[in-house]
C-alpha cells in the first residue's frame, strides 16, 4: 500500500470514528451556555431556578381581537380544553369557580393551617376576643363573605389564612376573566408540566396551546382572534430556532464564499476537495472534542464553525500555493516553521478560553483549538501524501505586482496610521465609562422585541418576578418545612416593620408535621370548648348556642389526619408548594420569595440579611447575582485575555529571539485591536465580554500574517507565491469571521465584528510596517 493510500486510510478511519461520536452527541441551545460551570451557593440557586424553577414553567398568554365577550369566551374555552391535557398542571384565567378547590382545602384544614391556632386562642379570653373580632368584621363589607361561615368558624381562622396570602397585584378582569390593563386582551397564566429546561417539551406545549386556541376561537365563532404567548419556554424555543437557523445559514454562507475563493485560485475540483479536507477534519474534530469533554455541545459552539472554516482553510492554501514549484519537502523546510508558529499563537489564544468558568466560552475555546490544530496537522501530514507532488496551482504571479504596489502605498501611510490609532485610543479613553454593557443581557439571544412583549404581558398579568429569595437547604422534607417556619417567623417581624411587603412559604399550605401536631394539640376537647364558649359569649350579640357547628368542626379537626403533600392534590396550592419545596439529589431545598413593600421597587437588603443571619436561610437578590455573575465573567475574561496575550508574546519572544522582530510582529496587531474596538464603539455597539475575547483572537489569528512579513524581512524578499497565499488566506479568514458578524446571536456577532475586520487590518498594518525592500 502506498504512503498516500495509508495516509488516506488513517484519515478516513479517524473521520468515521469522529462521525460516530458526533452522531451520538447531545446538542443543546439552552441557557446552560451562560450559566456558571463552578457556581457559588448563591449562583447555584440561580442555576436551579433557571433550569427547574417554577417560573421557567410559566407561560403567559394574551388573547387579542374581537370584543371583550368573544375574548372571554375564547379564554374559557381554552382553559377548559387545556385542563384536560396532562401537559399542563395549571391554567389560570381568573374565571370564577377555578379557586373553589383551593378554598375548600383551606377551609377544611383551617385549624391545622392557621398560624393563630395556639392554646391561648381557645381559652375563654381568647375565644371572646377572636369572636368579637369576627362580629366586628361583619360590620365591614368583607363581612358579607364571612357571614355564612360564622357559625362554623367564629374565631375567624379562614380570614387569618386568606389575609396571609398574597393577594398582590391582581390582573384586571372583564367579562369574568382576566384582562390586560387596557382591557384590550384576555390574559391567561399557564403552567406546563415539563421543566423549563426541556426545550422540546416546551415547544410541544406552546404548539398545543396555539392549536387548542385556534379550535377554541373557531368554536366561539371568533374570526379575528390572535394569541400572544411569552415566557421562559418561548424564549428557549425561539433562541433554539434562531441558533439552529443561524448555524446552517452562517456555515453555508461562509462555506460557499470560501469555495468560490478557492475555486478562483485553484481552478481544479481535485485541489478544491483536497483543500477542504483539513477544514472538514478540523470542524469534525472540534465537535468531537467538545462532545467528549463536556457531554453536551452548545448550538452556539457549532455556529462558531463558520469562523473556524475560514481560519482552518488557510493552511491548505499556504501549502498548495507556496509548495507549487518547491515540492512538499522544500515547503516543509522553508514555510512550515512559520505556519507552525502561527498555529501555535492561535492555539495559545483559544487555549486561554479553556480556563473560563463560563461554559460557553470554554467550549468555544476547546472547539476552535481542536479544529485549528487538526486542520494544521492534516495539512502537514496527510495532505502532501494525498496530493502527491502533482498539484499545479494556477500561476498567481500576476497578482504580485499590484500587491507589492499596495504594500508600497501602505508603507507610505505609517504616520497617518499612527495618528489615526492615537485618535482612536483617545476616543476610547474619553468614553471609557460608556464602553461596556453593564449586564448579562448583552449576551442574551432574546430579541429586544420579544423582551418588550414579555414585559408587557408580565405587567398585565402581575406575574411574579422572583428577584428576592431566601433559600434554605435541609436533609429531609420535615426539616426543610420546620426551617421554613423558623425563617418565616423572622420574616413576619420584617413584614411588621414594613421592611418587606410579604413572602411566600411552602409551610403556609403544608405546615411541618410538628407544627400541625402542636396546632391539633391546641384544640380543646368538645365539652371543655363548649363550657368555655358559654363563658366567653355571655355578653356577646353572638350567643354560644348558635355556635354548635363550631364545636362539631373543632371536634372533626381533632380527628382529622395530618396534611401531607398528597392532600394538596387537585388544588393550585399543590403547585405553589412544589415550586417552593424541592427535592434535590442531596436533600431538600426551600425557596421563600420575598416581595418589596407596596409601591416600593426594591428591598432594603441589609436588615433582611441581618435578620436571617442565624436561621440558616441564605438571602439572595437574583438581579444582583446575575450582575455579579456577569462581572465575574468579565473579570475572568479580562484575565484570560491578558494571559492568552502574554502566552502569545512569550511564544513569539522565545521563537523570534529578537526584541526588534517581536516588536515588529506585535505592533500591527495592537494597532489593529485599538482601531477595531474604536470602530465598533463608534458604530454604536456597547462592548461586552465577547468583544474582549475578540481582541484576544485578533492577536492570536492576526499574528499568522504578521509572521510572514517577519519571515520575509529575515530573507529580505517577499516572493509572489507567499504574498498571494497570504492575501488569499487572509480573505478566507475575514470571510469566515466576517460571516459571524451577520449573526443575531450576540456571542457570535461580537466575535465576528471584531476578528473579521481585525484579521484584515492585521495584514494591512503588518504590510504597512514591514521592512521596505532594499532597506
Amino acid at each position: 500500500m502506498s504512503a498516500a493510500a495509508r495516509a488516506f486510510l488513517i484519515w478516513l478511519l479517524a473521520m468515521l470514528a469522529g462521525a460516530i461520536v458526533v452522531w451520538n452527541s447531545h446538542f443543546s441551545a439552552d441557557m446552560s451556555f451562560f450559566l456558571p460551570g463552578r457556581p457559588s451557593a448563591a449562583q447555584q440557586v440561580l442555576v436551579d431556578q433557571l433550569k427547574e424553577g417554577v417560573v421557567t414553567r410559566l407561560l403567559m398568554v394574551a388573547i387579542a381581537g374581537g370584543d371583550a365577550a368573544q375574548r372571554a369566551a375564547a379564554s374559557r374555552q381554552l382553559r377548559g380544553r387545556l385542563e384536560k391535557l396532562p401537559e399542563f398542571v395549571a391554567i389560570q384565567n381568573g374565571q370564577a369557580g377555578s379557586l373553589d378547590a383551593d378554598r375548600d382545602f383551606l377551609f377544611r384544614h383551617r385549624y391545622l393551617l392557621s398560624p393563630a391556632v395556639k392554646p391561648e386562642r381557645f381559652t375563654v379570653d381568647g375565644l371572646r376576643a377572636s369572636i368579637a373580632n369576627s362580629v366586628d368584621l361583619l360590620a365591614s363589607p368583607a363581612g358579607m363573605m364571612i357571614k355564612p361561615l360564622l357559625p362554623r368558624d367564629p374565631t375567624g381562622e379562614m380570614i387569618e389564612l386568606l389575609s396571609g396570602l398574597n393577594a398582590g397585584a391582581q390582573p384586571n378582569t372583564q367579562e369574568g376573566v382576566w384582562a390586560s390593563r387596557d382591557g384590550q386582551r384576555a390574559m391567561l397564566l399557564i403552567q406546563s408540566a415539563a421543566l423549563g429546561s426541556d426545550t422540546d417539551a416546551q415547544e410541544q406545549a406552546i404548539a398545543t396551546i396555539r392549536s387548542q386556541f385556534a379550535e377554541s376561537a373557531q368554536y366561539a365563532g371568533f374570526s379575528d382572534a390572535r394569541i400572544v404567548i411569552s415566557g421562559p419556554g418561548v424564549f428557549a424555543v425561539t433562541s433554539r430556532e434562531t441558533i439552529k437557523s443561524e448555524v446552517s445559514k452562517l456555515s453555508s454562507i461562509s462555506t460557499l464564499a470560501i469555495i468560490a475563493v478557492l475555486f478562483f485560485v485553484y481552478r481544479s475540483a481535485r485541489l478544491l476537495s483536497l483543500g477542504l479536507l483539513p477544514v472538514v477534519s478540523g470542524a469534525l474534530a472540534g465537535i468531537v472534542a467538545v462532545s467528549l469533554a463536556y457531554g453536551t455541545v452548545f448550538g452556539i459552539t457549532v455556529g462558531f464553525g463558520s469562523a473556524l472554516i475560514g481560519e482552518a482553510v488557510d493552511y491548505s492554501i499556504y501549502y498548495f500555493v507556496q509548495s507549487g514549484r518547491l515540492g512538499a519537502a522544500e515547503w516543509r523546510a522553508r514555510f512550515w516553521p512559520t505556519i507552525r508558529l502561527g498555529v501555535l499563537t492561535s492555539v495559545c489564544g483559544f487555549a486561554a478560553l479553556l480556563f473560563s468558568g463560563f461554559p460557553g466560552l470554554a467550549q468555544l475555546g476547546l472547539y476552535s483549538l481542536s479544529g485549528v490544530l487538526t486542520a494544521a496537522l492534516v495539512t502537514r501530514f496527510i495532505l502532501p501524501a494525498l496530493a502527491g507532488n502533482d498539484h499545479p496551482v494556477r500561476d498567481l504571479s500576476h497578482l504580485a505586482p499590484p500587491l507589492k504596489q499596495g504594500i508600497r502605498v501602505l508603507q507610505g501611510l505609517r504616520w497617518p496610521v499612527i495618528l489615526l490609532t492615537a485618535a482612536a485610543l483617545t476616543v476610547l479613553v474619553i468614553d471609557r465609562h460608556q464602553l461596556w454593557h453593564p449586564n448579562l443581557s448583552a449576551l442574551s439571544t432574546v430579541s429586544a422585541e420579544d423582551s418588550a412583549t414579555d414585559m408587557a404581558l408580565r405587567a398585565d398579568i402581575g406575574a411574579p418576578d422572583s428577584r428576592y429569595m431566601a433559600v434554605i437547604t435541609a436533609p429531609d422534607r420535615e426539616a426543610a418545612l420546620q426551617a421554613a417556619e423558623r425563617a418565616g417567623q423572622q420574616l413576619d417581624a420584617l413584614v411588621a416593620k414594613g421592611i418587606i411587603g410579604g413572602y411566600d412559604s411552602p409551610a403556609r399550605f403544608l405546615p411541618s408535621q410538628a407544627t400541625q401536631a402542636a396546632r391539633r394539640a391546641s384544640l380543646p376537647a368538645s365539652d371543655e370548648l363548649a363550657a368555655r364558649l358559654q363563658l366567653a359569649q355571655a355578653d356577646s350579640p353572638l350567643a354560644a348556642n348558635k355556635l354548635a357547628p363550631f364545636l362539631d368542626e373543632v371536634a372533626k379537626a381533632k380527628e382529622q389526619g395530618a396534611i401531607t403533600r398528597e392532600t394538596l392534590n387537585g388544588t393550585s396550592l399543590a403547585l405553589a408548594v412544589d415550586s417552593l419545596l424541592m427535592q434535590r439529589p442531596n436533600g431538600w431545598s426551600v425557596l421563600l420569595p420575598l416581595r418589596p413593600p407596596a409601591g416600593v421597587k426594591g428591598v432594603d437588603i441589609e436588615p433582611v440579611r441581618a435578620k436571617l443571619a442565624g436561621s440558616g436561610a441564605l438571602f439572595i437578590d437574583m438581579k444582583f447575582e446575575f450582575d455579579r455573575l456577569y462581572n465575574d465573567y468579565l473579570d475572568e475574561a479580562t484575565l484570560l485575555s491578558l494571559a492568552g496575550f502574554a502566552a502569545i508574546v512569550a511564544l513569539l519572544a522565545v521563537t523570534l529571539r529578537s526584541p526588534r522582530r517581536l516588536g515588529a510582529v506585535l505592533l500591527p496587531l495592537l494597532l489593529a485591536v485599538i482601531l477595531v474596538i474604536a470602530g465598533v464603539h463608534l458604530a454604536g455597539e456597547q462592548l461586552h465580554l465577547m468583544h474582549l475575547i475578540g481582541m484576544l483572537l485578533i492577536v492570536a489569528v492576526g499574528s499568522n500574517y504578521a509572521l510572514f512579513f517577519d519571515r520575509a524581512g529575515k530573507e529580505h524578499r517577499l516572493d509572489a507565491p507567499t504574498l498571494a497565499s497570504m492575501a488569499i488566506a487572509n480573505l478566507t479568514t475575514a470571510i469566515g469571521f466576517g460571516t459571524l458578524a451577520l449573526s443575531s446571536v450576540p456571542v457570535l456577532h461580537a466575535v465576528g465584528i471584531t476578528v473579521g475586520p481585525g484579521a484584515v487590518l492585521a495584514l494591512l498594518l503588518a504590510a504597512c510596517f514591514s521592512e521596505r525592500e532594499g532597506e
Partner: protein, 189 residues
C-alpha cells in the same frame, strides 16, 4: 266609545310631560353631575345570627366614576377602597385584596352603590330592574336583581336621596338579614 278612547289618549298625552319631568334618566343625569365628595355614614346591619344589630360609622369619599373610599372609625378602624374592580380592605395589620370578578355577591353590592353614585344606568340595568318613585327632591330608587345568581343573595336594594345626592342605601338579603347605610354629606369649601 271612540270618544272615550280618544279622551283617554288625550289624558295620557297630557300626563306624559308630567312623568317625563322626573324619571330614571333624569335621576341618572342628576347623579352623574356629582363628580365626588365626602360624607359621614352610619351603617346598621340586622343579622339573624346576632341578638342586636351591628353598627358602624365613619366617612366615605367618592371620586367619579369608579373610586370609592370608606373609612370606618367605629367599631374598628378600617379602610375600604374600591378602585375599578379591585376592592382592598385594610384593618389593623391585615390587608385583603379582592378581585370582585370572582365575587358576584360583592360585585352586586358594589355595583349598586357605584352605579348609583356615578349615575351609570347601563351598569345598574345590567344586574337590576329599576323602579323609581317620588320626585327630584326626594326620590326612592328600588333595584331588583335580574340575575338568578344575585337574587339568590340579594332580594332588594333601596336607594333614596335628593337631587344628585344619595342619602341612604338599604340592602335586603335573601336570608332575611338587611343593612341600612345612611349618608350625610360634608360640605367641602
Amino acid at each position: 266609545m271612540i270618544k272615550r278612547l280618544l279622551g283617554c289618549l288625550f289624558l295620557l298625552i297630557l300626563a306624559l310631560p308630567a312623568s317625563a319631568a322626573f324619571d330614571v334618566g333624569q335621576l341618572m343625569t342628576d347623579l352623574a353631575r356629582n363628580k365626588g365628595g365626602k360624607a359621614k355614614f352610619t351603617e346598621k346591619k340586622y343579622i339573624s345570627l346576632l341578638d342586636k344589630p351591628v353598627v358602624s360609622s365613619g366617612e366615605m369619599s367618592y371620586t367619579a366614576p369608579d373610586r370609592l373610599e370608606k373609612r370606618t372609625l367605629v367599631p374598628k378602624v378600617e379602610t375600604l377602597l374600591l378602585d375599578k374592580d379591585i376592592l382592598s380592605i385594610e384593618r389593623e395589620k391585615q390587608k385583603l385584596s379582592i378581585n370582585l370578578a370572582n365575587q358576584p355577591e360583592a360585585l352586586a353590592f358594589v355595583d349598586s352603590i357605584r352605579g348609583t353614585l356615578s349615575g351609570n344606568r347601563a351598569a345598574l340595568e345590567k344586574n337590576y330592574a329599576l323602579h323609581l318613585s317620588g320626585n327630584a327632591d326626594k326620590w326612592v330608587l328600588t333595584l331588583l336583581p335580574s340575575d338568578q345568581k344575585i337574587s339568590a343573595l340579594v332580594l332588594r336594594i333601596t336607594v333614596s336621596g335628593s337631587r344628585g345626592l344619595v342619602r341612604s342605601i338599604e340592602y335586603l338579603q335573601a336570608d332575611g338579614d338587611r343593612s341600612v347605610l345612611n349618608m350625610e354629606p360634608i360640605e367641602t369649601k
